[in-house]
C-alpha cells in the first residue's frame, strides 16, 4: 500500500512538474530567477533591503532589488502598451524612445515656461502630467492612423517619429534645457517621509489598471482576434481598423506616463539622450515574455516579467563592471539564447529528448 502511495505521490509530483515546465511563463520566470541567483552568487547581499536615509534625512528603502524594480518602471509601462500593439498590428512601434522625448519636452515646457532655472513651477504637476499624456496619445494616434487606416507597416510608420521625435522634444522646450524645481522630483524619486520610491507605486497603479481593463473589457479578446485574423474578425462584427488604432493610442498613453516618470527623475530632459534605445529593450521585453512578435496571442504577465528581466540583466552587467560600450553585446548574446530556446523548433527538440530519456528510464526499471 505504502509503495503504491509513494508511487502515486511521485507521479503527481512528476505531472505537476511537467505542467509547470509546459506553462507559457515557465521560461521567462525561470530565466529571471536564474539571473537573480547569479546576482546573489556574485554579491551575497544582493537581495537584502534596508531602511536608510537620503541626503535630506528622510527614510528611504535601499537595496539592489529596489533599484532594479524602480529603474524598470518605464520599461514595464511601455512593455504593456507594446504588447497590445504587437498583438493587434503584428508589428512594433519603434518610436517609443523618441516620443518619450516629446512628452518630456512638453512637460518641461509646461512646468518651466521659458525659464531655465525657475524657482517656482509654472503650472500644477497634474496639468503637466495630463498634457504630457495628451502629447503621448497624439503621437500614438498619429502612428495608429498610419498603421490602421493607411495600412503602413508598423515599423515603417513609426520610423517617422523615431527620426523626428527627439528634435520635436527639443523644439517643445524652445531649444532650452530647463531644470524644474526639486518638488517635481518627488514623482521620479521619493516623497519626503515615504520610503518606497514613487515610480514603484506608479508601476503598481498602472499594472493594476491594466489588469482591470483586461478583465472588465474585451480589449484582450478583440486585440487577439484582430491580430490573428482580421478578415474573420470583421465578419464577426469587429472593426479591425479601430482596434489597431486603439492599441496605438493606449501605447501613447503609456509613453505619456513613462515620460513623466523619466522627466521627474532628474527634473530635466535632454531630448537627445533621454531613454537611449529603450524601444529595443521594450520590444525585447515583449519577446522575452514568450510573446510572438508576429502578433496574435499575447501574455501581459510575460511582458512585465520580461521587462524586469531586461532591467536585472542591465544592472547585473553594470555591477560586473562591464564596459558600458560592451553592455549591448552581452545583452544581445543572452537575449539570442533566450529567444532561441523559446522557439517551437528548440522546444520540440527538448521535449523529444525528455520523452526518450523517460522511455529508457522506465525500461531500466522493468528490467530490474
Amino acid at each position: 500500500m505504502s509503495k503504491n502511495n509513494n508511487k502515486q505521490n511521485t507521479d503527481r509530483q512528476a505531472s505537476l512538474l511537467k505542467a509547470c515546465t509546459r506553462h507559457r511563463l515557465f521560461i521567462p520566470i525561470a530565466f529571471l530567477a536564474f539571473l537573480l541567483l547569479i546576482n546573489v552568487f556574485i554579491n551575497p547581499g544582493f537581495l537584502s533591503i534596508s531602511l536608510g536615509k537620503d541626503s535630506g534625512g528622510n527614510p528611504v528603502l535601499i537595496g539592489n532589488l529596489i533599484n532594479i524594480i524602480n529603474n524598470a518602471t518605464e520599461l514595464v509601462i511601455l512593455a504593456i502598451g507594446m504588447t497590445l500593439v504587437t498583438a493587434s498590428s503584428r508589428g512594433q512601434d519603434i518610436s517609443v524612445g523618441a516620443t518619450v522625448a516629446i512628452v518630456g519636452g512638453v512637460i518641461m515646457r509646461v512646468l518651466c515656461g521659458s525659464e531655465t532655472q525657475p524657482t517656482q513651477l509654472h503650472a500644477s504637476i497634474i496639468v503637466a502630467l495630463l498634457l504630457g499624456c495628451l502629447a503621448g496619445v497624439a503621437c500614438g494616434a498619429f502612428n495608429g492612423i498610419l498603421v490602421s487606416k493607411f495600412n503602413i507597416q508598423p515599423m515603417v510608420a513609426t520610423l517617422i517619429l523615431f527620426t523626428a521625435g527627439r528634435s520635436i522634444g527639443s523644439m517643445a522646450m524652445g531649444g532650452l534645457k530647463p531644470k524644474a524645481p526639486s518638488s517635481f522630483g518627488y514623482y521620479g524619486n521619493f516623497f519626503p517621509g515615504f520610503p518606497i520610491p514613487t515610480p514603484i507605486i506608479i508601476t503598481i497603479i498602472v499594472v493594476a489598471i491594466t489588469y482591470l481593463i483586461l478583465k472588465k473589457t474585451n480589449l484582450g479578446l478583440y486585440t487577439k482576434a484582430v491580430g490573428i485574423n482580421d478578415k474573420s474578425s470583421s465578419l464577426n462584427g469587429l472593426n479591425p481598423t479601430l482596434i489597431k488604432f486603439l492599441t496605438f493610442v493606449i501605447l501613447g498613453l503609456c509613453v505619456g506616463i513613462a515620460g513623466f516618470v523619466q522627466a521627474s527623475r532628474v527634473q530635466t530632459v535632454n531630448p537627445y539622450t533621454i531613454v537611449p534605445s529603450i524601444e529595443m529593450d521594450v520590444i525585447l521585453a515583449v519577446a522575452l515574455g514568450g510573446n510572438s512578435l508576429g502578433g496574435g496571442k499575447f501574455n501581459m504577465v510575460g511582458s512585465i516579467i520580461g521587462a524586469y528581466t531586461i532591467q536585472t540583466l542591465t544592472s547585473m552587467l553594470t555591477t560586473l563592471n562591464v564596459n558600458t560600450n560592451a553592455v549591448p553585446v552581452f545583452k544581445a548574446v543572452i537575449i539570442i539564447v533566450l529567444v532561441a530556446i523559446q522557439t517551437p523548433i528548440v522546444k520540440s527538440f527538448f521535449s523529444n529528448k525528455v520523452k526518450i530519456s523517460k522511455l529508457t528510464a522506465s525500461d531500466g526499471k522493468e528490467r530490474v
Binding site: T217, N218, Y222, S232, S234, L235
Partner: protein, 514 residues
C-alpha cells in the same frame, strides 16, 4: 467521354497533352488528362472548384512538373519537358493571369520589352518605336511612353497579351482575364482575342462566365475532379449539357431527393429578409430576394456566379451600392456586419480558414466571439459563462475537441466548422446564412449539418443554404434562387426543384429584371 468525332490533323495541332498525371500529398489533382489545342482556335477550359484547371495550366507553363504523361508542342519532334516558366516561353507558351503581373510603375514600352533583351545597352527610342508598331498592329489604345498604371485594367491585360504575342507565342493561356473588366473592356479584349486567333495563335481561355464561352470560343474541354470529362465543339454542346458535365450530372437523372414537407406554400409566412434591387461593390447585378420564417432558401449556380456575393451584400460584408433591404419589415441600411448581426442575421462565411476561424484562439473564445461582440466592449463574459456556452454547444453539436481551451486550429475541418456554426447559433439569429458549410468536411458531419439545418428551420429560423453540391441543396432547401454570371436568372420551388430544371435554368434562365 462522348465528345463527338474529332479529326486530328497533325499539321495544325500546336499543343497536345496525353495522360497527364499530377498529385500533391494525398490529392490527385490531375489524372490521365488529354488536351489538344490547334492553331487559330479559342479553346475554353472549364470546370468547377478543384476540377484541375489551374493545375493543368501550371503544368503547361512549367510552374509544376508533371508526374507522368506527354506534352507535344509543334516544332518539336519529341515530347518536351517544361521545367520552368522561362522554358515554357521558349517553347512558345505564354500565360496572362487574372492579376496583372506586369510592373505598374514602368511605361507600356518598358513593360513590353523588360527582361527580354540581352543587350546591356538599351536603345529606348528604338524600343518605343517598335512598341508603337506592335500596339498599333494589335489595335491597343495605349501610347508606348504612358505609365502602365495609368491605363485601364483591360489595356493592362492587352499589354500583357501584346508582350506574349511579341515573344512569338504559339499558345496563349488566358486565366480568368475578364473577371475584373466591365462590359466595354471585355468587348475590346474579345476583339483582340479574335484577331490573334485569325493570325493562327492557339488560345486557351479559362473563365467561369458561360455566356462568354458561347460568344467567343470554338471548343470546350471540361475537367472535373482532376479528370477529363471530354472535349466538345461549342456549336454541338448546348449550354445545359455543359452545366451538367461541369457538375458531373446526367440530364434526366431521376435521383432527386428533397424534403417535400418543406415545400408548402410559404408566401403566407412572415418575411424575414426582403431585398429589392440590392447590389454591392463586388459586381453582382441588382437582385430581389425574400426569405420567410421557417424556410430554407438556397442560392444555386456555378463557381463565381455570385452566390456568396448576394448573401455578403445582405450581411453588410461587401459595401452595398444600390437597393433596399428590409429585415422583418423594417427598412435598414447595413453598412457593416455588426449592424446586420444586431438585427438578427448570422453569416457563416464560405472560406472557413480565411474568413471563419480565429486560428490560435481557443474553441470557447471562437464560440463566444460573435455574441460577445454584440454584447459590447465593456461587458465581457466571465470565464465561467464562456465555459458554460462552450460546453453546451460542444455537446449539442458533438464537437470533438480535447477541451474548450484547445486552439481551434488543432481541430479537424468538420469540427472547426461545427465551432463556427456554434458561434452563430449562440447569437440566436432569426436569419442564418450558411455559405458552403459542408465544403471539405467528412460525410458524417455533412449529414449532421443538413439535419441540423432542417431542425432549425422547423423551429422557425429562416436559413439560406449555399452549396456546390446540388443534391445537398435539393435535400435541404425549399426554394432555390438560381444564378449565372452574377445575375439572378430564376427561382425554383416545389416540384420545379429538380436537377434538370436547375441546370436548364443556369444555362438558359432569363435574368431578373430589376
Amino acid at each position: 467521354m462522348n465528345g463527338g468525332l474529332i479529326i486530328i490533323t497533325i499539321q495544325d495541332t500546336v499543343l497536345t497533352t496525353r495522360g497527364i498525371y499530377k498529385s500533391f500529398t494525398g490529392v490527385k489533382a490531375l489524372q490521365n488528362v488529354d488536351f489538344t489545342l490547334r492553331e487559330g482556335e479559342i479553346h475554353a477550359l472549364m470546370g468547377e472548384n478543384g476540377a484541375g484547371k489551374s493545375t493543368l495550366i501550371k503544368v503547361l507553363t512549367g510552374v509544376y512538373t508533371k508526374d507522368a504523361g506527354e506534352i507535344n508542342i509543334k516544332g518539336n519532334d519529341k515530347p518536351v519537358t517544361i521545367k520552368s516558366p522561362q522554358e515554357a516561353q521558349k517553347f512558345g507558351i505564354s500565360t496572362v493571369y487574372q492579376e496583372i503581373t506586369l510592373c505598374p510603375n514602368l511605361t507600356v514600352a518598358e513593360n513590353l520589352f523588360i527582361g527580354r533583351t540581352n543587350d546591356l545597352l538599351v536603345n529606348w527610342k528604338k524600343n518605343n518605336n517598335r512598341a508603337a508598331t506592335i500596339l498599333k498592329g494589335l489595335g491597343i489604345p495605349a501610347s508606348p511612353t504612358q505609365q502602365l498604371s495609368n491605363c485601364s485594367l483591360a489595356v493592362q491585360q492587352m499589354v500583357a497579351i501584346a508582350r506574349a504575342v511579341d515573344m512569338d507565342c504559339k499558345v496563349l493561356i488566358l486565366d480568368e482575364p475578364t473577371s475584373s473588366l466591365d462590359e466595354n473592356e471585355v468587348a475590346k479584349l474579345f476583339t483582340l482575342m479574335r484577331d490573334l486567333r485569325d493570325r493562327g495563335v492557339g488560345i486557351v481561355f479559362v473563365t467561369h462566365f458561360l455566356d462568354q464561352v458561347y460568344e467567343l470560343c470554338d471548343k470546350i474541354t471540361v475537367l472535373r475532379n482532376g479528370e477529363l470529362v471530354g472535349e466538345y465543339q461549342v456549336k454541338e454542346l448546348p449550354k445545359v449539357e455543359l452545366v451538367a458535365k461541369m457538375m458531373g450530372k446526367e440530364l434526366g437523372d431521376l435521383a432527386d431527393l428533397h424534403n417535400k414537407a418543406l415545400t408548402d406554400s410559404d408566401d403566407a409566412k412572415e418575411a424575414v429578409i426582403e431585398a429589392e434591387g440590392l447590389s454591392s461593390t463586388s459586381g453582382i447585378k441588382p437582385f430581389n430576394f425574400t426569405a420567410h420564417k421557417g424556410e430554407v432558401t438556397g442560392f444555386a449556380g456555378l463557381l463565381g456566379s455570385g452566390r456568396s456575393e448576394c448573401v455578403r451584400a445582405i450581411f453588410g460584408a461587401d459595401k452595398v451600392v444600390k437597393g433596399k433591404l428590409k429585415i422583418k419589415g423594417e427598412n435598414v441600411t447595413v453598412t457593416s456586419p455588426i449592424k446586420a448581426m444586431k438585427k438578427g442575421v448570422g453569416y457563416l462565411s464560405e472560406d472557413r480558414k480565411r474568413d471563419g476561424i480565429i486560428g490560435d484562439l481557443s474553441v470557447s473564445d471562437n464560440i463566444i466571439l460573435a455574441l460577445q461582440v454584440m454584447k459590447g466592449f465593456f461587458r465581457p463574459f466571465t470565464k465561467a459563462q464562456a465555459q458554460a456556452f462552450a460546453d453546451e454547444y460542444i455537446s449539442l453539436l458533438g464537437i470533438k475537441t480535447a477541451s474548450a481551451d484547445t486552439p481551434i486550429s488543432s481541430l479537424s475541418g468538420g469540427n472547426q466548422q461545427k465551432v463556427i456554426l456554434a458561434r452563430w447559433l449562440l447569437t440566436h439569429p432569426e436569419y442564418l446564412i450558411l455559405d458552403e458549410p459542408t465544403r471539405g468536411i467528412d460525410i458524417g458531419t455533412k449529414v449532421e449539418i443538413q439535419k441540423l439545418v432542417l431542425k432549425l428551420a422547423s423551429e422557425g429560423m429562416s436559413i439560406t443554404f449555399i452549396s456546390s453540391e446540388i443534391e445537398e441543396m435539393l435535400r435541404t432547401c425549399s426554394r432555390l434562387i438560381v444564378m449565372r454570371d452574377l445575375h439572378v436568372v430564376g427561382e425554383l420551388k416545389g416540384d420545379e426543384m429538380t436537377q434538370d430544371k436547375i441546370m436548364y435554368t443556369i444555362a438558359g434562365g432569363v435574368s431578373q429584371n430589376v
